[in-house]
């Protein structure tokens, strides 16, 4: 398995797109992800606005209303919190085709600490009408989903990491925006995951639960949190003893919430939500370390599933 950061995959894909899509503009907030020379002939369509996230969103809205298709760049912590009102009023309210490309999501900023962690971004972006919310899980899914996001008539939030994360195993069908991707067949325990490390943790856990416990465990990749593919979710979990969500987000409002909401309304199932605990991460660590410390590993997820199934069986 190769390892590439989803933001690196995005950067390369956007540089390529700018060369072929004359309406695309890249608006930056001094993130360091781009330099004007990256874009060659399209350099005039790269604008570094300075460290000004609210202005970034407003400028992008004005440009989108004028016919351009802006890709705006900031860290997830600032897109979803500092600039949220501009995202809500200037972009989402007007349903304008602005792509909010948010790096350093989850705890991928690692040792930089809670000011730079974004564990609330999916909750706030999901709450906004008109917004499409996408969480690629590796470099390939970033490129594939970005190509589909580029065609949307309205706004999108794309959650990206910072450092390299491993690729998903080969063999899965290409991701289709708005559709849950089945990564592993299995009906007894169904794990639903989003984001690079949670998806890998879910895949590893399913394998362990199958090999060691004889459970028929499947994995769904929910890369699009809004609109959420409730149909596939309901269909794939009809025989499940337990549905499990795994995400790098606080418990409120993210993937676990989306799944809970859909199942509660349409087809209630036993549900276990595995997320980052409801607190700030105040110890130093890289992304993998922090995520692992909080049980988002193959072994950690498998252990939580076993404990829950045992408790259920005993009750």
């Amino acid at each position: 398995m190769s390892a590439t950061a989803t933001r690196t995959a995005y950067r390369d894909a956007l540089v390529a797109r700018m060369a072929t899509d004359p309406a695309a503009v890249c608006l930056d907030t001094d993130t360091g992800l781009f330099s004007g020379v990256d874009f060659g002939d399209a350099a005039a369509r790269y604008l570094n606005l300075g460290i000004a996230e609210h202005t970034l969103m407003g400028v992008a809205a004005g440009m989108a209303a004028s016919g351009w298709r802006p890709y705006v760049n900031t860290m997830a912590a600032f897109a979803g919190a500092r600039a949220l009102e501009a995202v809500k009023i200037d972009i989402a309210y007007n349903a304008l085709p602005v792509r909010v490309m948010a790096t350093h999501a989850g705890v991928s900023a690692g040792h930089l600490g809670p000011t730079h962690h974004a564990l609330e971004d999916l909750a706030v972006m999901r709450a906004l009408p008109n917004m499409t919310v996408v969480v690629p899980a590796d470099a390939d899914s970033t490129v594939a989903l970005l190509a589909q996001v580029a065609e949307l008539p309205g706004p999108a939030y794309v959650r990206l990491g910072r450092k390299p994360t491993p690729s998903l195993p080969d063999g899965a069908p290409p991701p289709v925006l708005g559709t849950i991707q089945r990564l592993r067949a299995g009906e007894e325990v169904v794990l639903v995951a989003a984001g690079p490390l949670p998806v890998l943790a879910a895949l590893g856990a399913a394998e362990a639960l199958a090999a060691e416990d004889g459970l028929d465990a499947g994995v769904l990749h929910a890369h699009t949190l809004k609109p959420f593919d409730a149909e596939t979710l309901v269909a794939a979990t009809g025989r499940a003893r337990l549905v499990v969500t795994v995400e790098e987000h606080w418990p409120a409002g993210g993937l676990g919430s989306a799944v809970a909401e859909e199942l509660a309304e349409r087809a209630p199932r036993p549900l276990l939500r595995i997320a980052m605990p409801d607190r700030f991460v105040d110890v130093v660590g890289g992304q993998e370390h922090i995520v692992a410390e909080n049980g988002i590993t193959p072994a950690g997820v498998a252990a939580r599933v076993r404990a829950r199934l045992t408790a259920t069986d005993l009750s």
Binding site: A44, L49, G50, A52, V59, A61, M63, A65
Partner: protein, 276 residues
């Protein structure tokens, strides 16, 4: 596309706009009276004498763009748009009534409104977006952003001011309705803004100051922007909150008014008598 209107009829248009503002404040919800009256002359001059616009083609890519960053001045904008021909003047009577598209802050459903505004501190960045769009597309369009002075207490205004100067967006014009009052009192007592013109200069904008009720001075300044190549323009328009009505002029409590039938009649008589 621009309608060039003479001095006398600019006065008449401004008076009709003020009359509509007063009428809307007598509706079921009242309205932002003082700040709408303070910016009425600025809007009149922009829409009737300065901007390159065509009410019959409000989305023409070559148009000049106007953004009411002080979105609470919506009734003034609606009155101006109606008088300029974007929608029938009769529709103003629906303001704030159920089912109307004329909300308390501007919305895109209203012909001529470019963007919804009203949460303060958004307009300048939006205007910069339109200005940069025009420049990238090689169009001569200008963006005019009307800002409240109290609004400048929002940090996002200055964030956008820095970015606009850095981008050399000289097709962006900020007009500051400097009436000196905000909801609860004087700006200089609540969160001082002076020296206001110097602040804009320090942000590397070209700056002029003008009597915001002097149509000819407004027209000259706005029509001639950009004043310096490579710099955005800020026009500090010194205005009086409630201008046009001696009974409310300069009073903080003119900020929002729900006029009784009797008060409405008094203000209409005062407007007609030219009691300023």
């Amino acid at each position: 596309m621009t309608a060039l209107v003479g001095a006398e009829s600019l006065q008449e248009a401004a008076l009709r706009i003020r009359r509509h503002i007063v009428d809307m404040c007598a509706g079921p919800e009242g309205g932002h009276l003082g700040g709408s009256l303070s910016s009425a002359d600025i809007l009149t001059v922009l829409y009737f004498s300065v901007m390159n616009i065509d009410p019959g083609a409000p989305a023409d890519p070559g148009r000049d763009v106007f953004l009411l960053s002080k979105g609470h001045g919506a009734i003034g904008l609606y009155a101006t748009l109606a008088e300029r021909g974007y929608f029938p003047v009769e529709e103003l009577a629906t303001y704030a009534r159920p089912g109307s598209r004329l909300m308390g802050h501007p919305v895109r459903a209203v012909p001529g409104v470019e963007m919804p505004t009203g949460s303060l501190g958004h307009g300048l960045a939006l205007g910069l977006g339109f200005a940069l769009s025009a420049r990238l597309a090689g169009r001569a369009s200008r963006s005019f952003v009307l800002m409240g002075d109290g609004e400048l207490q929002e940090g996002s205004c200055w964030e956008a001011a820095i970015a606009a100067a850095a981008q050399g967006a000289d097709n962006l014009v900020a007009v500051i309705d400097r009436n000196g009052l905000q909801l609860t009192g004087h700006t200089e007592q609540i969160a001082p803004l002076e020296p206001l013109a110097d602040r804009w200069r320090a942000f590397n904008w070209a700056v002029r100051e003008v009597d915001g009720h002097d149509h000819e001075a407004l027209r000259e300044a706005l029509a001639s922007a950009p004043w310096e190549p490579g710099r955005p323009s800020a026009l500090v328009a010194r205005t009086v909150k409630g201008q046009g009505l001696a009974m409310v002029a300069g009073k903080p409590n003119s900020h929002y008014a729900t006029l009784t039938e009797r008060m409405h009649a008094r203000l209409v008589r005062a407007l007609q008598a030219g009691d300023r």
